[in-house]
Symmetry: C2
């Protein structure tokens, strides 16, 4: 079977919107989170991809995984800040390096677009994702070795 390389990951275009909608739907379904229907998500992603503030990377032939990146102008630097909003690999394809390949390609895409930082939100028990992020130089400690950085959220 071999371990997938970055070559297996590609940048999504508008024509991938349906596949993206399905993967996002499967993602939230798997984790018992509420989710709009795949077609609604496809429409939304079509709009986001068209707006230019969003990039999606797809992995595998299914496709079997995706990374969703958001970009916006930073405040403290002249570049863009990027945010890894979603990272998902279907169950049957886990443990084969696809998540890592998606992350590597995401970092590359962020650099190409002129980002100087990437942030990611993750829950404490999600040790697989945390280990992956840490292995790629991401940290949840301010300044690299400082205090833990929390996300606070409020529904409005």
């Amino acid at each position: 079977m071999g371990s997938p390389g970055q070559g297996e990951v590609r940048l999504a275009t508008l024509s991938d919107a349906e596949a993206i909608g399905r993967l996002l739907f499967d993602f939230n379904n798997e984790f018992d989170e509420p989710t709009p229907e795949p077609a609604v998500l496809a429409d939304r992603l079509r709009r986001l991809l068209g707006s230019g503030d969003t990039a999606v990377l797809l992995g595998g032939v299914g496709p079997d995984g995706l990374a969703v990146l958001r970009f916006r102008s930073a405040i403290w630097s002249p570049g863009l800040e990027s945010y890894l909003a979603e990272l998902y690999v279907v169950p049957a394809r886990r443990g084969q390096g696809l998540g890592r390949a998606l992350m590597l390609r995401s970092i590359e895409e962020a650099l190409v677009r002129g980002s100087d930082s990437m942030s990611i939100e993750v829950d404490e028990p999600d040790v697989a994702a945390r280990a992956l992020y840490e292995s790629l130089g991401s940290t949840n400690r301010a300044g690299g070795g400082g205090p833990l950085m929390f996300v606070y959220e409020k529904e409005l």
Copy 2:
């Protein structure tokens, strides 16, 4: 001296860019973080305010404090997600409720713009900010009472 109400907080316009640049500069200076010069920050904020994805609330006559909000289309809902990027009150005006007034007005502005969530990043030792966010219904636990939510960051 009395405690300031929300009335003391107003939405910034483009003509406030210089004052915003000074406050942001003072903010990072106080915490020994690197910062561009005030004029550079003013230019950047002028652009962000003009782009429509950013709102700034100013508090006090100095002005003596600010909140910077960023908005973008959400993925899982039809609304906007809002992000409180910065919250600062000058040292002489702390402990008088200005931070709370800025937060309340920020939540109001986010609602007016059609946001359905607000996220905030904060370091673990910043107990004053965390207490303020928690008192307003913000939580760093997934789903309200679940696991801690971390931010991971990577410089690119």
